[in-house]
Symmetry: C2
Subunit: 441 residues, 2 copies
């Protein structure tokens, strides 16, 4: 028997336990098709006694993941601890420094320190694989690093956060409010007690930062991503979007423009009759557009123990096959700085929802504000009320504000912002206008 | 500069020309991120003079692809000639025998000789890559060979023929007949003059044979695929399916059952609200279901010069990176024989469309035939007429046959066939009953 590939696994939560179960279940089959069998040599976690569904007796135990990372008995260090700094960072650095391959699912770590860690991996000629860090069970990283490499990427985008997609799906299907669905998601364990990281778009922003780097050969720059969450999306938006033939999704989108990289996470209107509109619940997707391939869409589970463990295992499989690629395709020292495009220069169509005062000339005033900024309208719908929502608190009495939905032709973010600012300033509306970008697919 | 990877390209049709254009366009960028630059050293095609959008002056010309295949000046032989035997087979064998890596887009060749060629490649320690042979620009092969490897595959399926999907899409959107849309597709060049290979499901069968082998570790057995085409699909089926919440797609589906591999290409009802239902026109998709990852769906262009050339280029990129894997994952000599499951044992729900004679007791007779075979019905809809179709020739006069649409609960193919046979035998219907499988997604 050939020498096994010895793994040290740090972090035995859902993903870590899932990985051990996967190797127990499929280790023999994998050994038959790989140059080397996989063997979990050692593990590290916070508590030792917990039942993880696998027997740890034949694995060495480390209390300290950093000690495990540089232990001479292992070939690959698998980091499943989490966190952008602390033991995750220290152990990954120790492993790479000791010439071990590293496989990690830690998007926060990579979004913050990805380039430095990639440089370290390249110096030591080892792998730094992170398939599980972006879109869970979807092979987004492998596809970008390998299959799609012959293309110049024109745009990369995706539904990158399962919590948000679940909330938007249930809001539409059950006609319920954001707050209500979020509360239920928290009870079911789909959303964190502090949901900001998910519903505010920051988690998707980390993933988009990694994909942007792979797509455009730039340094990872999570701070340069324009992030908007789904907190402001109301049932009125979902219904109006539906009537217009759209569905609302939280997308991460990156394109390269003459002024730099436009990378943003934002609620977006996508056409109902598109495959991406049918990506529902906690499912994620990643779309790539290439100059030769055209559009490619990958749809799959974005999180969960099984899918994430399988993604981690696929990274280990690559190492067992001797596949070691530069983590971000381009050598870390040659990645271009991330030059951020001004969001003001974003071009596209927009959806606007306004609560118009019930006053003569109000609509004419709105139209003038739009016209003054050169924004032309594709459609305008004014409605006194939307379907009654339990607890939505929408006034439906005569004299109450009217909801006006507008869809613009293609224009710039700058023009929309100025138009909306002047609408706001002139007090034509009773609440802050809702502005949502429409993504051309 | 490191030694380039020297390519010999045989076949300069749409894909071959596309590949040369891709390398001309992206060669420099690829050289910056690959261990070796790509260089087209020599080419072979039937006619020399034709304009292919790239300058061939610095490439050596071969009239004979077999001579090119074993020429000592090349490292990789790229076979884009086509055909299951003849020069394609001879040149691929020559290349592998001479220790050259082979990249091919030729599904017919692989469906017939894949295992023998894989054995030859493995003997010589070279790659036999065929990403472009299945679903064009979709990285189906790489995903199965690499990313999805940690999973046991429960089912693999897809929309594998763009011509059929285009025809079905236009039939639905424009309410036109199969014959009418086929004729137009032929005029536009989307369908061959003899369309049997596409619309009869055989092309999809070849692709499914390759995917089946990768999914279940079996020998490639194109002859063992159960193949049904889309010729019998009528506007009445498309409308009735739509009313029931389904869309009709030609799917290739493979699962492993206790009695063997059930692999079939057949028209299928898929739920309208699924991503696969929104895969329209010439777009293809490939779906994998794994025990750890769950469902993964890849959607992209199934054919065309650009996407296919990009898939070929991605195979070349792998060779440049030194990635050489067994073509069918498992070593060719250890692939299991393909044991075919009896289609009679297929379990699932069915859609039936019957033209019922306008006679008392006809419906009761139908219901009895179903009941006698233990088939229970989820829904029955009887309609005197469907939407009038120009030229559909459907009689709508009183006394004319009534269209009855039935959806069964889960049952076996055997039971359905027997029930339909007895309905037919008893002359309760005026034309052959339409039977379409419903795929659970």
């Amino acid at each position: 028997m050939t020498k096994p590939l010895k793994l040290g696994v740090a972090g035995l939560g859902t993903v870590g336990s899932g990985l051990l179960q996967l190797i127990e279940t499929h280790g023999e089959r994998l050994a038959a098709v790989l140059p080397r069998p996989l063997a979990v040599e050692a593990v590290s976690a916070r508590t030792r006694g917990k039942d993880r569904g696998v027997c740890l007796d034949r694995m060495r135990w480390f209390d300290d993941p950093v000690a495990l990372a540089s232990d001479e008995g292992i070939d690959v260090f698998v980091e499943l601890i989490g966190g952008e700094d602390g033991p995750a960072k220290a152990s990954v650095e120790a492993a790479l420094g000791a010439g071990k391959h590293v496989v990690t699912a830690n998007k926060a770590l990579l979004a913050k320190h990805g380039v430095a860690l990639a440089r370290l991996a390249e110096e030591h000629g080892v792998a730094l694989n992170f398939e599980a860090a972006v879109a869970g069970g979807i092979p987004a990283i492998k596809t970008m690093r390998e299959a799609f490499l012959p293309n110049n990427v024109a745009r990369v985008y995706g539904i990158l956060n399962g919590t948000c997609n679940y909330i938007l799906t249930v809001m539409e299907e059950a006609g319920r409010s954001f707050e209500d669905v979020l509360r239920e998601a928290q009870e079911k364990g789909y959303a964190e007690a502090d949901p900001t990281f998910d519903v505010g778009g920051f988690d998707a922003g980390h993933k988009l930062a990694l994909m942007t780097s792979l797509a455009f050969g730039t340094e990872v720059a999570a701070d340069e991503i324009h992030v908007e969450g789904i907190e402001s999306i109301t049932q009125a938006d979902i219904e109006a979007a539906g009537d217009l033939g759209y569905r609302i999704k939280l997308l991460g989108v990156a394109i390269e423009t003459p002024s730099g990289i436009e990378a943003r996470v934002n609620p977006t209107l996508v056409p109902k009759h598109s495959a991406i509109a049918e990506v529902s619940g906690v499912t994620n997707c990643v779309a790539l557009e290439g100059d030769f391939t055209g559009p490619l869409l990958l749809v799959g589970p974005g999180a969960g123990g099984g899918p994430t463990a399988a993604a981690v295992a696929s990274d280990i499989v690559d190492v067992a096959r001797g596949i070691v690629l530069p983590p971000f395709i381009t050598a870390a020292e040659r990645l271009k700085p991330h030059r951020r495009a001004k969001i003001d220069e974003h071009c596209g169509a927009y959806y606007l929802r306004l609560s118009l005062r019930d006053e003569p000339g109000a609509m004419a005033g709105i139209a003038k504000c739009m016209g003054d900024e050169g924004v032309s309208l594709e459609s305008v719908v004014q409605r006194r009320e939307f379907k009654a929502l339990p607890g939505s608190g929408k006034p439906t009495a005569p004299g109450a504000p009217a909801t006006v939905i507008m869809v613009t032709h293609e224009t710039t973010e700058d023009a929309i912002r100025k138009a909306v600012a002047s609408i706001d300033r002139d007090e034509m509306v009773t609440e802050r206008p809702q502005v949502i970008r429409i993504e051309k697919l």
